[in-house]
Symmetry: C2
Subunit: 501 residues, 2 copies
Amino acid sequence: MMGLPFAVRGGFSDGRASLFLKLLRSYTRISVQEMNPNMRKLEYAVRGPIVQRAIEIEKDLLKGEKKPFDSIIRCNIGDCQFAGQIPISFIRQVTAVACDTHLMDSSAIPDDAKERALRFLKSYATHILILNLTFVFHALTNRNLLLKQGSVNSGAYSQSTGVEVVREDIAAYIEQRDGIPASPENIFLATGASEAVKFILGLVATTKGGSQRAGVMIPIPQYPLYSATLSEFNNYQIGYYLEEESGWSLCEEELEKRLEEAKAHCEPRVLVVINPGNPTGQVLTRANIAAVLHFAHRNNLLVLADEVYQHNVYAPDRSFYSFKRVLHELGGDIASEVQLASTMSASKGFMGECGFRGGYCELVNFDPEVRAHLYKCLSARLCPPVLGQLAMDVVVNPPQPGEPSYKQFCAEKSQVLSDLAKKAKLVENLFNQLPGYHCQPVMGAMYAFPRLELPPKAMRAAELAGMPVDTFYVTKLLEETGVCVVPGSGFSQKPGTFHFR
Amino acid sequence: MMGLPFAVRGGFSDGRASLFLKLLRSYTRISVQEMNPNMRKLEYAVRGPIVQRAIEIEKDLLKGEKKPFDSIIRCNIGDCQFAGQIPISFIRQVTAVACDTHLMDSSAIPDDAKERALRFLKSYATHILILNLTFVFHALTNRNLLLKQGSVNSGAYSQSTGVEVVREDIAAYIEQRDGIPASPENIFLATGASEAVKFILGLVATTKGGSQRAGVMIPIPQYPLYSATLSEFNNYQIGYYLEEESGWSLCEEELEKRLEEAKAHCEPRVLVVINPGNPTGQVLTRANIAAVLHFAHRNNLLVLADEVYQHNVYAPDRSFYSFKRVLHELGGDIASEVQLASTMSASKGFMGECGFRGGYCELVNFDPEVRAHLYKCLSARLCPPVLGQLAMDVVVNPPQPGEPSYKQFCAEKSQVLSDLAKKAKLVENLFNQLPGYHCQPVMGAMYAFPRLELPPKAMRAAELAGMPVDTFYVTKLLEETGVCVVPGSGFSQKPGTFHFR
């Protein structure tokens, strides 16, 4: 509001004047109409209204209120420890000793966990160590001295891109996974993979004064982080449908068609692929990935590959192929040109360490200057949580044969993965036996996305309630059975079809 | 790039055609020119070129290269543990046991640290507990059973706004600090205070199609997170100068003047105040804060109060007054109208736990709908690091008299704070004794921002080197002595004056 001219201030002498002044001068706080419209539009169904309602019901239950069930079963989010999965001991031991280095003396922590924490803290604290080389010499021969001096600990900021040894370990992990080189310079750590996604999509954010909105292709159904981030950056969302009937496969013609349609509205810049799929659970074949990369190459698209479920493949006839590996194997111009960003997380896989907020992103074929600007932007948020980086480090560099924790680590990891595989099969079979449900094979990730066919009566009831059919269904499910799932509309779906995750 | 029309594809038969086709069809990756210009423009001096150079020198030293010094002394960042400060034991013990709950059995962790971790994990895992009420009953009477079952641990996502018990503890801390009510509903946890700042300024981000750029007033000198975030959101920066001669005080006339000037270029929406000051170390008086709040009220500005140094006040004649407290005490329309967001961090104060990335923000007088949209946006990033939340919890709810860790905690805290106070005085006195330096009193925070007066010869040398005078000076300082500081230009300063932090 503009300042009030002095002439106006002195120009009245009756009650109307003071009212007028008061109206003009009263403080106006930011209202919904005036706030950033991109933030207003943003939707994130995984923690949306249905989950808020589940929390309310939980509170009612705690107060002793009677319901047809004793507890809420929350299936809204890919959070395995939340659902009772026991953490991998080694990750917890390493992070615990990094928190409190006095535990270097404790018999409760195995020696390899201590070594792992020490290696991390040493890399992290190089700058401190070189302050006094004599001290370092003693320290390296007597780790307890070093740690007790408090000179090495997890309380300082790390480099913005992440602790050096972690980026090296990630590069080694990727090399081993793909059989092709990887460089720590192209890897940055993030506060969960979500933060990495935001930085990559930020590169093509639509800005005031920019000529066109940047278009970003995302699968439908999709993980709503993508639609939310596109809202935030005011990008044009180009949804491409996954083909449910053929196990949620990704069809090149569909990509072409949606891209052509979108060109009237935006400048397409990025193609997002989620593999293994969330919420759909499919695992792409090598041939499919190759076709996607050719498509991206023809159309000048940066490929953002969400590969956070790379450890979660259950179908015996599928394996995880990284986009980077397939890109490399294609050779020629494609291999050296297509820009690729691949994300990974400590929150999924066998570890499920969501609370640590560990994740990373590898950049392939990025313009070095663009990468430098990206890393500069990372520096303004200082660094990702240091213990999340350490959890990520253990995931990419687990105990090796011969180390004290090797056997237990392997046993815990395979237990979790075989439990997840059993549950995937169980859920798929169960839904396909129930009338009105159809569920595609759950090949990977952590979700099933069954299709609902509701009787006309239910359709009408939903219409009367003013809700999309799937929202109506999952609301009923929650209120009557306490099971909390997310309606398909939160992930988007083909018009006329209804699902939940 | 548009698809190539078929007619053109067939229209040539010579070498030029294939070159033409190749040029048209070759893949174009995102270049610096095409990337988001807001990310390109962003600058963050605290980790800028001078720090990059310091890292290079460190590597040279490690390789055995000879320099006039043995090590780099990095004074570029407010990271006390990095500079050798020993962490507060209790924070480390509580987080360690939350990492590895088997430590509940270890004598290395005191009982009150175990209790604190358990209380946190119980609040955090309410949803898991109610799955099985019989189990909970046993669990509450036998914590080891509960924890060994792995049902309560720090691996799950928390609520997006943060663990309930932490928000309650923060509210209680604020109530005790200010003597006025605070509600957990108005508090959200963040990945360091930096993330909270980004969410608040995001509310007024300049968007495509919006009528005017939103103006945000920030102090000059400022902490460059603010200028970086304004670049990112394409906001109009309205710098107001702090008055160096009177101890970097904040002058109402200066605010008025800069606001009036800016109105031609933007719509002013937010006023940022950093108290205690970064990089300037001043502590605002109560009267000064009241004047700022009146100014904000008259001009419809949201006040973003960066209060992360609230534990760092050293001047005997100053105390920390929160903006919220002064706002409340002003009463009337102002108290009930002015929108205020106040940030706090686990990274500063006596704890210096930068690596945990813990922080919070309290909202005052926000429109409930706007708050709901803000919290919805928080949910898309899932949650802040859980152990960072726990570190923040210990800061606001430290050991109490009679608890086993009380004495040690108090001793460690007062040791750190008295060391910081001594150093503040030492630095201030030292600079004021050196010719060519002037340093205002360091009343609080963690920095001195001395002013340099360089001889004309040095001024000319800087000009010849094509550098701002202060950048030239700190570069020489780094190369010749190994001391790394940040030039004043990174924080902005009055034209013609030169400083460093």
